[in-house]
């Protein structure tokens, strides 16, 4: 066989592969739904897709596509396709902060009355608020998230601190200054922290979707807490580059007494640091002023399932998205991925609470959580904030507050370089 023969054979193989590919996608029965989602490390999001495909009895097939690991990359990947009106995005996992932006741009479909009622039934208020924009439900809350104050019971005597000042003082007083692990890098995480602080201090970032609030007093109080922590002995030396996962690592390796973080650290510590895990304690998210406010205005995060604005199978997509957040799937998200559920019923499930002992505290925090500003320009606003307040060690409450107001105002006018 000469060179020509080989080339011909290669072409034949290629043609067959192409034909087979076409056959596969158009030949199956039912709707083919593409589900673009964060690849949750426990594999539970992909698992939900598989389970719902089976349960649909051939009405639809959900194909799981993994998005990047951090929310910024996930957003970038989706937004780029949605701006080009890509009809192959049927269902997507959305960070709770994207709702307004995606809804305003028409990238996600509002939920029709019947489907929306089904989602609302039994769902906690906090998560539902994150999926609602201008009175309409735009996504189905799949899981929620909030931060707790985690600490080592072997190092912290008595009750855990209730305010930030108290927390910093306690940590500094420890014989081997107890570190506080928190998110200080220049990214969404520090905006989350700031948003909780300012709301706990009685203020707000925005007044409605397009007006800056940032009243001087609460803003400076919030920035003051950040600066104080960053410049105290309790700060991690690499605070200015730390994100949730670095916090988890530092805590697991025994370098810190406290960490302010999401419950994903719980299954992780159980697996990676069994000794430390025995002494792992949790307490409500600290307050800025009043100790009685601990656990109020904690951050709220999580994922909502949105249905693509250009999908060819909206009905099936709404049904599939509803299925992928049912009780069974949410239990998986919580137990294998550490992601708190959005359905109230699960928090009453004894078996679940046994495996997820801080569930009551999370439920309480979710009732009065600090939802981040709902504006179509959220990503710009957040960029403006985190570029201004990180590194936290260089915050000067007064001048930083003024700068912040300026930049957030620019961001809302879609102006300014970010």
């Amino acid at each position: 066989m000469g060179r020509r023969g080989i080339v011909l054979m290669g072409l034949a193989v290629l043609a067959m592969a192409l034909l087979a590919g076409c056959g596969g996608s158009s030949g199956g029965q039912g709707a083919h739904l593409n589900f673009w989602a964060y690849n949750e490390p426990g594999g539970t999001f992909a698992g939900a897709a598989k389970r719902c495909t089976q349960q649909s009895g051939g009405r639809y097939t959900i194909e799981f596509h993994a998005l990047g690991n951090d929310p910024d990359t996930q957003r970038q990947q989706l937004v780029r396709r949605l701006a080009a009106k890509d009809s192959s995005i049927d269902i997507m996992s959305m960070d709770v902060i994207w709702t307004a932006e995606f809804a305003e741009a028409g990238w996600i479909k509002p939920w029709p009355q019947a489907a929306a009622d089904k989602v609302k039934q039994g769902t906690l208020k906090g998560p539902l608020d994150t999926a609602t924009y201008q009175g309409k439900l735009y996504a189905a809350p799949a899981n929620s998230n909030t931060q707790l104050l985690w600490y080592r019971k072997d190092l912290v005597k008595g009750e855990a601190p209730k305010t930030w000042d108290d927390l910093i003082a306690t940590a500094e007083k420890m014989p081997k200054a107890g570190r506080i692990e928190i998110q200080g890098a220049q990214y969404e995480g520090i905006t989350v922290w700031f948003n909780s602080l300012i709301q706990s201090a009685g203020g707000q970032i925005l007044d409605g979707p397009d007006k800056v609030s940032l009243a001087p007093q609460p803003t400076e109080a919030a920035l003051g807490v950040m600066a104080k922590l960053a410049n105290s002995k309790a700060a991690d030396p690499s605070l200015s580059s730390q994100k949730e996962d670095q916090n988890r690592l530092a805590f697991e390796t025994g370098q810190a007494a406290f960490q302010v973080n999401y419950p994903f650290i719980y299954p992780s510590a159980k697996e990676n640091a069994p000794d430390l895990f025995k002494n792992l304690g949790w307490a409500p998210y600290p307050a800025v002023k009043n100790p009685a406010d601990a656990g109020r205005k904690a951050p709220i995060g999580g994922f909502n399932w949105g249905v693509g604005g250009y999908t060819k199978h909206p009905q099936e997509a709404f049904d599939a998205a509803t299925c992928m957040r049912d009780e069974e799937n949410q239990k998986e998200f919580a137990l294998k991925g550490g992601l708190p559920p959005t359905l109230a019923a699960l928090y009453d499930n004894k078996e679940f609470v046994k495996a997820y002992p801080f569930a009551p505290l999370i439920r309480k925090e979710l009732q009065d959580a600090a939802v981040r500003p709902q504006t179509p320009l959220y990503s710009d606003v957040s960029l403006a904030i985190y570029k201004t307040i990180s590194p936290p060690a260089s915050i000067d409450p007064k001048s930083t507050a003024a700068k912040l107001r300026d930049r957030v105002k620019n961001a809302l006018e879609s102006k300014g370089l970010l």
Partner: protein, 321 residues
């Protein structure tokens, strides 16, 4: 490049001749006219393609840069003149990113010039295995930049399991936001490693133009190796050096991939370059107006750099200056 390097050896004699030739060609015969017309027609397809793939996109992005155009709010598109440029040029972010770009550009190109010259001399002088030496030294240039950048990221970043901090006994991440100096070093190292061979290749072409007789004559006259290098080789290959520098400087100013990857997908603001800035405006914020303004400004910077170099090239040709 093509006009400078080959005329190199005969530059002294050629320069005046060329001037005369141009003046002498003034009256054009019918035949020459027809030939010229044919020439234009033969070029036409290429010109059309060039306009379609370069002139149109450049023109379009210039047009976009005059608009408030945000893909998230397609209805709010309006003409705002030079506002986007004012925003960019008055923003401290543009200037800090510009400074980052300049730091990376100046340091990496200087190191590349020195190393590239050494490599070129080795490739030029190699007595045996010349082909092998040349091939081996070109390997880094053959590797995709993104792949090379990942290799450096994985070597230097602690959370990604980097072995170099481990060797040095350093516990923190060398390429995170908290350590701008080492972040810069790693980006520069990646750039130098990747593009030194390109520099060496261009310099090698220049070295081949230095006549051996000149060097031998100098040696007979008692010039040391150092003197021969500085007094004969370098002046004679100056045009080649400048061309190599021009190419690399333009490339380095537009640096995107290494800085983006080593900056962990552009999330390390300490090593953000102007190209990453433009990318963020365009693809993250979907703000086509601002992003296009940044792109146009990068284009203008590149033009200025090229102009400086070309002027430099024109005046520094041996026999003219």
């Amino acid at each position: 490049m093509s006009t400078n390097v080959p005329t190199q050896t005969g530059a002294i004699a050629e320069a005046p001749q060329r001037g005369l030739g141009r003046r002498g060609r003034k009256p054009i015969s019918d035949r020459a006219k027809a030939e010229r017309k044919l020439g234009w027609m033969l070029c036409a397809p290429a010109v059309v393609v060039m306009i379609a793939v370069t002139a149109y996109p450049i023109g379009y992005s210039f047009y976009l840069s005059l608009l408030r155009a945000d893909l998230r709010f397609p209805d709010q598109r309006e003409f705002i003149g030079l506002d986007n440029y004012v925003t960019v040029l008055t923003s401290s972010l543009w200037w800090s990113d510009f400074a980052h770009t300049m730091i990376i550009m100046v340091i990496s190109v200087s190191i590349e010039l020195v190393l590239g010259m050494l490599l070129a001399l080795i490739m030029h002088r190699a007595l045996f295995g010349r082909g092998l030496v040349r091939t081996v030294s070109l390997i880094p240039y053959g590797i995709v930049t993104v792949v090379a950048a990942y290799a450096f990221l994985l070597a230097f970043s602690t959370p990604s399991g980097g072995f170099i901090p481990h060797w040095l006994g350093i516990e923190h991440d060398l390429v995170d936001q908290g350590h701008p100096v080492t972040s810069f070093l790693v980006v520069i190292l990646a750039e130098v490693w990747k593009t030194t061979p390109f520099m060496a290749l261009l310099l090698l072409a220049g070295l081949a133009l230095v006549p051996d007789e000149l060097l031998e004559a100098a040696r007979v006259d008692g010039a040391t190796a150092w003197q021969r290098f500085w007094r004969i080789t370098v002046p004679l290959m100056k045009p080649a050096i400048l061309v190599a520098l021009l190419f690399r400087t333009l490339d380095a100013f537009r640096i995107f991939d290494s800085a983006y990857i080593i900056g962990q997908n552009g999330t390390n603001p300490k090593i953000e370059t102007v190209s990453i800035l433009g990318y963020n405006q365009l693809l993250n914020r979907l703000n086509l107006g601002l992003g296009s303004a940044v792109s146009v400004l990068i284009f203008i910077c590149v033009m200025i750099i090229a102009l400086i170099f070309i002027k430099g090239l024109g005046t520094s040709r041996p026999g003219e200056g």
